[in-house]
């Protein structure tokens, strides 16, 4: 099988001894660094929330201290039931990041597997799988997520599945492209010549070469799933009260934000900065991993 040299070149053997590592290059990129710092901060908040290291219990109600403005007792104020906002934001970070990472992990693994297997096997199989994926693309993303919530019911784990179903076809498409071009390359042919199994070729030789676009996609998927979790919770279809979620908190602030603006500002900021963090990280990673695109930004 002759190698096709006009295909987009994928570096087959990066020389790690000379090039600085991805992390080091990312730290030299301004938006990448800012994004990384925000995300690390959020992960710390989420861990503290998960370990119960919040100033107060996020669901405990202090009836006397209802709607307190931010003060030294309650750093970010209290809500209508006298619950501490800072504690709720922290536990909200735990829930949001849990949903984001879990859904992206599921859809990333499943999508990559489907996409690369489909491209590697090729032919009619590839055709059928991709047409099936097209069906999911025929729905606006939020509508598909809503439909799944209707079927499965509400709650944290259901939200994860809903987001994962929406994102699996996207990962499949992202993974498919590079596999299509890599599988025709000489090193794959030679691996087949020495008698390697298809399974081993796919995992050891083909998939590592498709990582760059996937990593960028993961970062964008995380930002999207953070937004979707907040959106579904805002509509009352995601995280269920009393469990805190930024979306639920923002929705609760409607109607009383005129007298207690902190109820709207902090959850809003939390969502925005989280999404911004993942977006910046994605931009940075794209600059680092795919330098051809950098010129335009």
């Amino acid at each position: 099988m002759p190698a096709k040299n006009d295909l987009p070149t994928v570096k087959t053997k990066p020389d790690f001894s000379k090039e600085p590592s991805v992390l080091r290059r990312l730290l030299r990129n301004r938006s990448g660094t800012v994004g990384l710092v925000i995300i690390i901060f959020y992960v710390c908040l989420a861990l503290l929330g998960a370990l119960g290291q919040t100033p107060y219990s996020p669901i405990e109600q202090h009836r006397i201290d209802r709607l307190q403005a931010p003060s030294s007792t309650y750093r970010l104020g209290t809500d209508l039931f006298g619950r501490d906002m800072l504690s709720r934001i922290m536990k909200g970070a735990t829930n949001s990041l849990y949903v984001a990472f879990a859904s992206v992990a599921i859809s990333g693994l499943l999508g990559t597997l489907i996409g690369s297997a489909s491209a590697y096997i090729g032919g009619q199989f590839d055709n059928i799988v991709m047409r099936l994926m097209d069906i999911f693309f025929a729905f606006p993303a939020i509508l598909l997520a809503l439909l799944i919530v209707v079927v499965l019911g509400r709650g944290l784990d259901k939200t994860i599945i809903a987001i994962a179903v929406v994102y699996t076809p996207i990962f499949a498409r992202v993974a498919r492209g590079p596999v299509l071009s890599v599988k025709e390359m000489e090193f794959v042919t030679s691996a087949r010549c020495v008698g390697m199994s298809d399974f081993r070729i796919l995992f050891r030789h083909v998939m590592p070469n498709t990582l760059a676009p996937l990593i960028v996609q993961i970062s964008l998927a995380l930002s999207w799933s953070l937004l979707t979790e907040a959106g579904l919770s805002f509509l009352g279809l995601g995280t269920q009260p009393p469990e805190p979620s930024w979306g639920v908190m923002l929705s609760d602030s409607q109607g009383i934000s005129e007298i207690a603006p902190w109820l709207m500002i902090y959850p809003g900021l939390a969502i925005m900065m989280g999404v911004l963090g993942f977006n910046l990280l994605g931009d940075g990673l794209r600059d680092v991993l795919d330098p051809r695109l950098k010129r335009l930004r």
Binding site: R131, L132, D134, I135, A138, F139, P140, I142, L143, L146, L147, I148, V149, V150, V151, G153, S223, L227, A230, G231, F234, L235, G236, L237, G247, L250, S251, S253, Q254, S257, E258, P261, M264, G268, I271, M272, M273, V275, L276, N279, L280, L296, R297
Partner: protein
């Protein structure tokens, strides 16, 4: 060209069939039998005979495959079922709400394009200046702020600083009172428009930067044309192609009804209808509305593809299968 268009059109048919299958069987997966979900708590008062009669009436005693074919036959004839909650045919309900969504979609799109294209062009022309930095910051924030946050913020600012309550009162249709209708739609449209303007700005900016580096732009400059003429007549027109695609895709989303924004501003559009159907477990309506929105989305995307093919003669579809 015509061949390409026909091919694209035919390719949509299996997708639509897949969509209908998915919607039909997804609703069947909802726990509980159809009669109970249809009638809610009142189903408990049914005798066995009544229940069996109802099942026969709705064709629920037949195998799922037969049910699907019957349902599809009805759908093709414009019968999307009957909403027990509203006491009306599903299609009537949808068509009743759709104009609100269409109006909102068009207004938001216009707002987004005006803001996005002007900031994007300015940013590209003054590349790496302070204005460019401001423009990019605007886009970053706009991409990160979800529309429900912008909506809540907008309501807060309006009510606290201007004493306006935009989401109060009954909806007035366009032909009843155009001014009042505009007043009710402008804030949700601003919310959606601002949200979307960030991606328009980014696309415009990068397309403009690319085009401004092209030879023909340099030629136009060296011919002695005014910078304004070069930017608007030569560069912007070519940079608009990706923006048109983006706008088309967004229109598809908007015509599905912005569930969240319609809900914040209490607008009786398609998105709010769907959300209410979900919270009331009105499965006939959920099924009909989902199918309607998905078909809409597919058709809009098809149209965008076709417009794209017409707009950009550089792309030859003959070689591409």
């Amino acid at each position: 060209m015509l061949r390409y268009l026909i091919q694209r059109f035919i390719a949509v048919i299996p997708i639509l069939i897949g969509v209908s299958l998915l919607v039909f069987f997804a609703i069947r997966l909802v726990p509980g039998d159809a009669i109970t979900t249809m009638l809610g708590t009142e189903a408990g008062m049914l005798t066995d005979t009544q229940r069996a009669a109802l099942e026969r009436y709705f064709g629920l005693d037949k195998p799922a495959g037969v049910q699907y074919v019957n349902w599809l036959g009805d759908v093709v004839q414009g019968d999307l079922g009957y909403s027990v909650r509203h006491g009306k045919p599903v299609l009537d309900l949808i068509l009743d709400r759709f104009p609100v969504t269409v109006e909102l979609a068009i207004m938001s799109l216009v707002i987004a394009l005006v803001i996005g294209i002007s900031i994007g062009t300015l940013s590209a022309v003054m590349h790496n200046s302070l204005i460019d930095l401001g423009g990019r910051l605007f886009a970053l924030i706009g991409l990160a702020a979800p529309n429900f946050l912008i909506g809540t913020l907008l309501i807060y600012v309006l009510s606290v600083y201007f004493g306006i309550l935009p989401n109060a009162g009954n909806y007035v249709e366009l032909n009843e009172d155009p001014v009042e209708n505009f007043n009710q739609l402008i804030f949700p449209a601003l919310t959606l428009g601002f949200s979307f303007s960030a991606s328009v700005m980014r696309t415009t900016r990068s397309a403009m930067l690319e085009v401004l580096g092209e030879d023909y732009v340099r030629t136009a400059h060296s011919k002695g044309l005014r910078p304004r003429t070069v930017i608007f007549r030569h560069a912007l027109r070519n940079a608009m192609i990706p923006v048109v695609t983006l706008a088309g895709v967004e229109l598809g989303y908007l015509l599905g009804g912005s569930v969240i924004v319609e809900n914040i501003f209490a607008l009786p559009g398609l998105g709010r209808l769907t959300l209410n159907a979900i919270s009331q477990r009105d499965y006939a309506l959920i099924q009909g509305a989902t199918l309607f929105i998905a078909i809409n989305f597919v058709i809009i995307n098809l149209l965008v593809d076709m417009i794209y093919a017409v707009l950009d003669p550089r792309i030859s579809y003959a070689s591409k299968k």
